[in-house]
């Protein structure tokens, strides 16, 4: 079984851990969002790729949900003593090592896809991790005072300043990374984890060629919205910016029946989604299944992944 997954950061990483438990025999390719990558202290940081790599490689901080286990912050404190470094983005010492090596390899002229493979050689995440593109794509958020990097809006401003628009700058000129289109074409089906539809899945689909490749496959998505609120993160602020309601049904309609074939929702959203299925033409043709969607641990994540696999198999001609 070949499964290809479009992935943001932590939500995707937890879903993938469940997927690996549910389908240990599957060949899983993960196409990672790189549009929230950022250069900090002169080093290239890829939060989504690293969240997947660390989590599946057994190196993540489970309590915190991001970053490395056993992390320390001596470099951050040193940079602060120099009056330097972003105070709003805390990179740990262990994490810094990853960014130092990545930046060194990129400066040597290696594409991000090759660098990611080198980093994954250590972590052995059990999946093949492909950046969506080797070209630079950067999500920028339009706020009252102008355009800012997504991370600045998300982390520094806690997404509390209203976004007028969210733009994956550079996506239209980016090429899919090596192996990306092939991984989609060769997959038995494609899964969307409960990642942010606007700033995680959105930029991947915005790279020319990827959306069309995904549309040609059976796709099952997992709602990241439960009971009208994002399970984690501030996806509601992103959805509002693009005029989409923060409901499981509205996110499914945003993807649309042309893209997704199946949609997993939480049981508490069942009545609302069933009503929407009758009313909203954008949902016609999407098979919906309701189940408990909170990923509390590996077994609960594996149950969700198994449901996604089952629905994808059911929907595959």
């Amino acid at each position: 079984m070949r499964i290809t997954v479009l992935a943001g950061g932590i939500g995707a990483a937890r879903f993938l851990r469940g997927l690996l438990a549910a389908a240990p025999e599957a060949t899983i390719t993960v196409i990672g969002n790189t549009a929230d990558d950022i250069t900090l202290s002169g080093l290239r940081v890829c939060p989504d790729l690293d969240s997947v790599m660390y989590t599946l490689g057994g190196g993540s901080n489970e309590e915190q949900g991001w970053g490395r286990a056993g992390e320390s912050f001596r470099i951050r404190d040193e940079l602060a003593a120099y009056g330097a470094g972003p105070s709003w983005f805390a990179l740990g010492d262990l994490d810094f090592a990853t960014h130092i090596l990545r930046s060194q390899l990129l400066a040597e002229g290696r594409p991000l896809s090759e660098v990611t493979r080198i980093l994954c050689d250590r972590w052995q995440p059990g999946i093949r991790l492909l950046p969506m593109s080797d070209d630079r794509v950067e999500t920028q958020v339009k706020i009252d005072s102008g355009l800012i990097h997504f991370q600045e809006w998300w982390v520094r401003l806690h997404a509390a300043v209203p976004a007028e628009a969210i733009i994956p700058v550079g996506a239209d000129a980016a090429a899919p990374g090596p192996g990306v289109l092939e991984a989609i074409a060769e997959a038995d089906f494609v899964l969307f984890p409960p990642s942010n539809p606007v700033v995680s899945i959105g930029p991947i689909l915005a790279v020319p060629g990827i959306r069309a490749a995904v549309e040609a496959k059976t796709v099952v998505g997992v709602s990241g919205i439960i009971g009208g609120a994002p399970v984690r993160g501030m996806a509601d602020a992103c959805l509002t910016a693009i005029g989409v309601e923060t409901t499981a049904a509205a996110v499914a309609a945003h993807y649309g029946a042309g893209l997704i074939d199946g949609w997993l929702i939480d049981e508490q959203d069942k009545a609302a989604v069933e009503k929407a299925l009758d009313d909203d033409p954008a949902l016609f043709g999407i098979a919906v299944r309701a189940l408990p969607l909170y990923m509390r641990d590996v077994p609960s994540s594996a149950a969700i992944a198994q449901a996604a696999i089952d629905l994808a198999k059911e929907l595959t001609p």
Copy 2:
């Protein structure tokens, strides 16, 4: 009183600490060797500048003699887990922060002199630290198998492989850093700490314009050779490479009476140097003073610095 000092790393840093204690009212400018700078893990490391900055700023590891106090090595271990990073050059986590910030500032297009000023803003070393040049100069060592970076010969090979030549590559095309020639011209006198004459003082003097500026001043040097051996480091291997004996007299003759006016030697070398003064024309005109030259602590370093000041004043017309 204006004193300008040509400086290598640790020996110079300890001498400078003595000089600050002996002459707290003096305006001291330090022209630092940058020819043993190296790029490691993609980051620019300036060992001599940092040794001076950390030591005078109170941040050095006193027992070890180099690096930062309270240092840890988590990043080195992480890089090793990735199969990366030079195993032969141990950069600590706190030290890494300096190199990260320096590299970021250099990448922004700032010259090393400005970057050094920014780093020193934190450390307040009590002296003005000027890189000898903003241009890249790199000491390379010719060994049997070819040219290698000085640090590779010094640190990785422990200078145990015979050097056929030691070459400050790029020095002939380098320009003195901003303020360097002025600091020499405006000084009441110039001091050479007991730094390595071949790879610390030598590259500074090899930058066009610096030697002539120094020759025009009263110069007092401190021998780094005591009893036929370097006090620390492996200066003998460097001296052998350029055909100079490892004696206090031979190093003075290497600098020559055209460059230095006074020379401080250890008491145990007094008889040998006095004999050489009668025999070697290169020493004619150099005023020699013998005193205890081991820099055990700040008072012993201050006594040496005071003797250098006294001799320089005596020799200044």
